[in-house]
Structures are given as structure tokens and as C-alpha cells.
Amino acid sequence: MNEINKGLDDRRATYIEYAQAVPLAYAIDLDVCLGCGLCENVCLAKAVKYDDKERESEIRVGSVILSPGTKGYDPSGLVTYGYGLYPNVVTSEGFERILSAGGPYYGHVMRPLDRQEPKSIAWLQCVGSRDTNRCGNGYCSSVCCMYAVKEAMIAKEHIHGELDAVIFNMDMRTFGKDYEKYFLRARDKEGVRFVKSRVHTVSEIPASGDLSIQYVDESGDMKEEIFSMVVLSVGLTIPDSAVALARRLNIELNPYDFADTRPFEPVTTSRPGIYTCGVFQGPKDIPGAVTEASAAACLAGGDLAEARGSEIQAIEIPREKDVSQEDPRIGVFVCNCGINIGGIVDVPAVQTYAAKLPQVVFTDSNLFTCSQDTQEKIREKINEHDLNRVVVASCSPKTHAPMFMETLEACGLNKYLFEMANIRNQNSWIHSKSPDLATQKAKDLVRMAVARAAVLRPLKEKVIPVNHRALIIGGGIAGLNAALALGRQQFEVCLVEKETVLGGLSLKLHHTIEGEDIRVYIEKLIAEVRADDKIEIVTDAEIAGFGGYKGNFETELRVGPGQEKRIIKHGVIIVATGAIEYDPKEYFYGQDDRVITQIDLSNRLEEKGASDLDSVAMIQCIGSRNEEYPECSRICCQNAVKNAIHIKKLNPDTQVYVLYRDIRTYGFLEDYYREAREKGVIFLRFNQDSPPDVECLPDGVTISVIDHVLQRPIAIRADLLTLSAGIRAADTNELSGIMKLNRNPEGYFMEAHVKLRPVDMPGEGIFLCGTAHGPKLISETISQAQAAASRATTFLAKPEIKLSAITAKVDTDNCVKCLTCVRSCPFEVPAFNQNTKLIEIDEALCHGCGVCTGVCPREAIQLSFYEDDQIMCKIDALMAGGM
């Protein structure tokens, strides 16, 4: 059974877990291994050890990070869904594999029973989440709504023809950055149906294998629909092994077995020196997990800052030989890769062939060219035969080129005088059924590589110094935390705030939903930042000019009422410009003082309590999730729940109504949503197309809304109407122009990659955190700030940066300054220098994509290592063999 593919297909007893596994190595499935001994006998590397045993080793460390990950909830216990009983009921994890090109059905969407393309698929949300009744997991798993939408979209894309995709949900929780737009696209453009219902039972129609779902719709009517397949959107749980680990390490867990952390120390466990990240900290999506990983690294590294640079072994590299005046002397090393290549390709024949190619002066073949002793051998041969170019015919340059290039460097040969022919992944592995053709193709690939090697040129990687100082823009919770984290890592920081006081939006807040005092926290935080002599604080300042590149930026500030000019030199930037509360134009806000925002309400509760309030109503999604502003503001639902509970605690007799579209209390916030309901807060759902009506009458504000269950309008009289106003990015028009930082249509800054690089900005050395990136909670802001500091540390910790040598270079003699490259570069790197009057490409900024080289009308730009003749010669060499 193939575990990765959730048992939807089988695998052999010796297997690679999945194509992207690291390390990409074989394992033996002991449960099914017969012990025949065959694999041990055939393994030339002698890597198979049947009697290999678990070994214990002791490592002394200064900090520990726990990231044991998550396990999808196993729905076998929920017998009414029929998982494990009906073949066409799969979990969302199983369905991911069905969609995957590397999955059991190679990306064809088929149902397990009869391998037929499904005509309809139902996703059932909250299986193993938001369920204190059947499984005890009271929390929301945060990611299932989004992945269900994604799976529905991809399934529709993969299935040619019509697919009826239906997502049964209680609330759609697409609260992440740009997630709401994705949900709307699924609903309005792709026709994914969303049904508000929690399905209780799935039953199979034995004749067809189809599945019948009975559910109660919003008006309370019983409905039945038939589907070809059912996907159970299983929640995130903590595996037993992680719980055992936590016990051994003596860290505290919350009631759901996740690591117990505090809102203001989101990645710090109960035990000093032990940090955590990812789903073990709480249910979250990939960007959240990646962010927290960096945050945990930041704190773990902060504890060890003094030890930085110790216990490092420097590699000595001999002086580089100048071979520029020599004719090419190429050595070709052909690899057998055990039997991976040699078992298919006639390696001796390829070696003999290579020896006859022009400018080849030496050839060799090895069992494993990548082994340590072969590196030694290659070094000897380079010196013995005075080789000045090396070709290795083996596997993928992606995995092995860096190692061979080091071998060249160790002989004083420039590492760019190296070329690989991939005769394994691109040849023997895939053409194993036709050895003769594979041998011929290996010759072709070697001939191409030799041709290219002959025209390679030595390249220099420019080394630039790094200014070990960070500029942080914004002195709110994000900027302050980033500053503090960098200070702890022993780096200097200049923290710039446009207002005269530090604190940002947090100055308007009182308590978190967990009850933590924000004011106390922010005062302590500011005091700590002020006490750190590595951090310089510049308030009442704005950015007026900007230049430079990673490691060496220069920013001009205008400071104070006199707008004094100041130049800051720094190596990195952290953008933490924050956000503000939306200023509602809806429902008489600003006209009637009984209509207030959630921030106003929490102020009011702090000052006057709730004893005089008979009734408070709240309307959600004000200034969010509408046509003008489609995005969800993420934090307003928990804000409403927080204030509703606060009112109930102050005065249990106050009636509290929350009018909502979807309640998005993700993660452990769900507990507070439940608490609010238990305390008698009334939640009423309304449709976007029939929003509540509000009348401001002398004896109170009257809110009318259509109740779904009653299917008729009801009227609520309230002393206060609280609008859950959304979040808006701070005004960064000018800043983004000066620093050339991209923002999305909502005004939030863009990260380098939404999933994988959530705190890096596209420009190198520039990082992003807090609500400048998108709406988020204080705890999320803090971990992102620590993450940004961590990413910045990876730059600041280096004495110097080695730039890639693979950059575009302009032949200024031939350049006509036509500006085509300037206008075509995706990163706006080529520029006309007003002083030199030349088009220049700054190698510190160039990403090396080569787009400019293809548009230059005078062929005056070349991308080093991929110069036109270095590509053309491969084409010519290939075709010289006659195809």
C-alpha cells in the first residue's frame, strides 16, 4: 500500500517516498519485505544494510525548535460518513493525491471504485474540526475551506466536460491574503456551488457506487442530492509522536495537544530555549507556517547570537590559474552511476567517442563520479593533464554541479569552466528499454557539452561588503518587534516612525481576545526597544529618497517639524508600515453617535462598562467583502466575538446580536465563538444581497434583517450599533514610489512568493511584516516581525555578499541606448546613467533571467555563462550529429 497516495495505489517494498522527497533516497518497507537479499546483492554502492539499527547520539545545542507537523484527521471513527467503507468517499488528502500528476492516477481525476471520471463531487467541511460533539476537536483547522475551494477548482480544470462541485460548509473561511478573491472566482466564474449545511450522513447507492447526501438547508428543509464522489475535508491534528515528544521535553500543550504559547510570544513554548512553529503551534496555512519557522529561527538564533561565527571551518581555495590565453584542454568524465547509467548506456563506448571530440585531451569513466575519492581523482587528472575545461557526463546539474564546481576551484580552475551532460535523468532512466538509442543519445549529449565547454569563459563573482545595519520603516508592534529581535541578534537598527510616538494602531486597542493587556505589552515593548543601545529611534520622520542595492542601501529621511535631511546607510530594510481601521460610510456612522466601530466600542466598554446597555447589535463585513473592497479583513470576526463576550461578562443581561455573513474565527479563536454563543450572544446570518436595514430612531437604533430560519424580516432595537469596520493598509503611495516597492490593488505590499517567501519582498535585502503585508492578529504580527528579522539576519550575518556571476552585461561600444532592455526587464534593472551617458546593468541588482539579451536589437547584451555562442554551439553540435 502506498501511504503517500493514501492507499489509492501500491508501491514496491523498496521505494522512494515521493518524487520531491529530501533526501531522494530509497527505503525498504519492512512490513512487506520478504528478506530475499536481492537488493543488497545488486547495490554496487553497498548501501543496503538489513541489520541497520536505530542509533542514539547526543548533540549539545543552545536552542531547540519543535516543528513536528500535523496529521490529517482520520475520519474512520465517524462511521456515518462511510470512509473506509465506501470506496468513493476519500479524504481531502487522498483527493490531493488524485489531483497530483505524481499521484495514483497520474493527475486524471477518477473515483477509486471504477476509475470513472466523477460527474459530481461533494466536499464536506469541518470533518474533525469545529466538532466538540463527535471528535472533541473544538478548534477550526483554518486551511480546509481554502483547500476545498482549490481542489474543486483544479478538479473542474482537470475534468473535461462538466463537473458539479459542491462545498457543504457552515462558514466559508477564506480569510487569508487574496483568498476571498479566489473564493469569489470559484463561486461566480467557475460555478462551484456552496451550500450552508453541515452534512450528517453519507450513504452509498450500492448499484452505482454513487453517494447520497441528505442535508437540511438554511430554511430547515430536508434535501437529498446524489454525488459520484465525496471528499471529506479533514482537519489538522497533532500526531501522537509529537505529543510524546512534547511530554519528553516537558513543554505544555493546550487541551487539543498543540503547543501552548502566549499571544505576545507566539513561537515560545512554556520551556525557555524551546521554540515552536507550524501547525504544532496552531492550525495554519503554508505562508503562516513558513513565517513562523523564520520567527522561531530568529528567537533560537537570538539566544545564540554570541556564538555566531564560532565552530566554523574555513575552506582554503588556491589562487585561480589564468587560462584565458590557453587553447581549450577538455577533460571528460563519464559516470556509470552504479548501474543507473552503466546498466543501460555503453559507457566505454561513450568514453571512446568523447576522446575523439575536438579539444578533448583526457577522458575517464567512474563507478560513481560524485564520490569523495573520485573528486580526488578528478583533481589529480586536472593537474596531471593540465585540463582547463571539465565535462562530467552523469546526472542533474541541479543536484551535482555545485560539488563538481568546487572540485575545479580546489585545483585553481575557475568554477565556470565546467559543463554537465545529464545522461542519467534525461537518458538512461527514461530510455532503459532501448539501450542502443540511449547510448547514441548519451554521445549526442556529451558532444553538446564538449562544444559548450570549449567556449566557456572564466567568470568572477563580485564580492560586495554588507552594511550591518537595518532600516525599519514603521514603529508599530511589527516594527518594534523586528527592531528588538535584530537588537538581540547584535545588529544595529534605525527605526523610523512617521508619527511622533511609537506604537501605531495598537495604541487604540485594549485587550486581546485571550484577555492579554495590549497597553501593558506595548509600554513594555517600547521600553525594551528604548533600552537597547543598538536601536536608534527616529520619530516624526519620513522617507524622502532611496538608492542602492542589497547590503548597501542609502535612504534619505526628512525629520521633525524642520524637515531636516538625514542620510541613513543600511544593509537591509524591513517594511512595517501597518494599517488603519476603515472609516465607515455605511449606516449613519459619523452622523449618529450611537453608531460606532469595534474600536470605539472597546473604548466605551473600558471607560463606561455595559451596565447601561440593554442591547447591542453588531454588523460584520463593513468595508470588507464588498464590490468596492473584495478582500476579507481577517480579524473583525474575532473582534466582534471578543467585544460580545466582554459585554456579556460586564453585564450578562445585555442582549448582543452579531449580524454576519460567515463567522471566520479560525484556529483556536473558534473556542471564543462557542463561548460567545454559550453566553447567549445571538448570531444572525444575512446574505450579501439582502443586507440589514438600519433606522436611527429616538429610542434606539433599529436593525431589520431577514432571518433565514424564519424566512421573514426581524427587527432588533439596539442602544448601540457597532460596525465591524475592516482594515485598510496605511497610505504608502509616496513610500512605494520612492522605494519602488510593489503593492497589490488593496495597497498591501507584495511578498516575493505568497506561499514560500511570505516575508521577503521581491527586491533582495528587503523584508516585510505586520499589517503592511495584510490584515492580521497581534500574535501573527509579532511572529511575522520576528520572521522578517530572521530573514534580515541571514543578510546581516555575512561579512560580505558574493554576487552571482550569471548576470547580463552590456557591450557599451555597440549599445545604441534604444531603451528596449530598460523597458523589457521584469525587474527594472537596466538604466540610463545620466552621468556616464551609458545604459548600465547593475550586477548587484540583475537577477540573471536573460530577458534583456533576447530583445537587444544590436545583440549588445550577453548573459554570462549563457552567452549566445554558448547556446548556439550546443544547437550546432546537436545537429551536427544529424537527427
Partner: protein, 113 residues
């Protein structure tokens, strides 16, 4: 994944499909290749933002040039996939090969030295 694809496919590595030049594709056909295709990242997912979009424009341009001189324009093609899609890569290699086999050999082949 070691998925089989036709042996006549030979790969030339570039850092980004944005580096692929009109002249590179023309040269391949000029020297007798029966077809040439560019495999780039999915549109919208270029590591260098838009290299694969530039590549598509160039492939389409070469296609028009080939039509101009009397060759089939779709001897050059552009495919997009993500790095995790081995089976798709193999499927495209097969599709391209079958497509080129239908077109028959490049009549310029006999002129190649």
C-alpha cells in the same frame, strides 16, 4: 520518476525561458531539427516574473517567420508546466514528437552539413 519519453528529445538548459532567443529557435530549424519546443514554468508562476511570457511571444514570432518561408509554423511550440509535473513533461514530449511525426521530416535536413 523515470517516466519514459521519446529518445529524440534532447534538452538544452537555459536559466529561464526568457533567455530563449528567436535566433536560437531559428538556428535549430535551420540546422535541420524537425521541431523545437520551449518548456517554461506555468504562466503567472515565472521565477523571474515574466520570462515565460516573453518566451511565448518569441515562439509565436518564430512560428510566423517559419510560415513566411514556407515551413509549418508549429514546428516550434511552447509548453508550460511546473517542476513537480514529471508526467506532464513526458506527456508533452510525446505529444510534440507525435505532432512532429505527423508533419514529417524537416526538408532542410539534407542541407545540414
Amino acid at each position: 520518476m523515470r517516466l519514459d519519453y521519446p529518445v529524440n528529445i534532447k534538452i538544452i538548459l537555459v536559466p529561464c525561458t526568457g533567455k530563449v532567443d528567436v535566433l536560437h529557435l531559428l538556428r535549430a530549424i535551420q540546422k535541420g531539427a524537425d521541431g523545437a519546443y520551449v518548456v517554461g514554468c506555468l504562466e503567472g508562476a515565472c521565477h523571474y516574473n515574466e520570462g515565460n511570457l516573453r518566451a511565448r511571444e518569441r515562439v509565436e514570432h518564430v512560428s510566423r517567420l517559419l510560415e513566411e518561408i514556407g515551413l509549418e509554423g508549429d514546428r516550434v511550440r511552447m509548453y508550460n508546466l511546473s517542476s513537480g509535473e514529471g508526467p506532464t513533461f513526458a506527456a508533452y514530449a510525446k505529444e510534440m514528437t507525435e505532432h512532429i511525426q505527423k508533419l514529417g521530416p524537416n526538408p532542410l535536413k539534407k542541407w545540414a552539413e
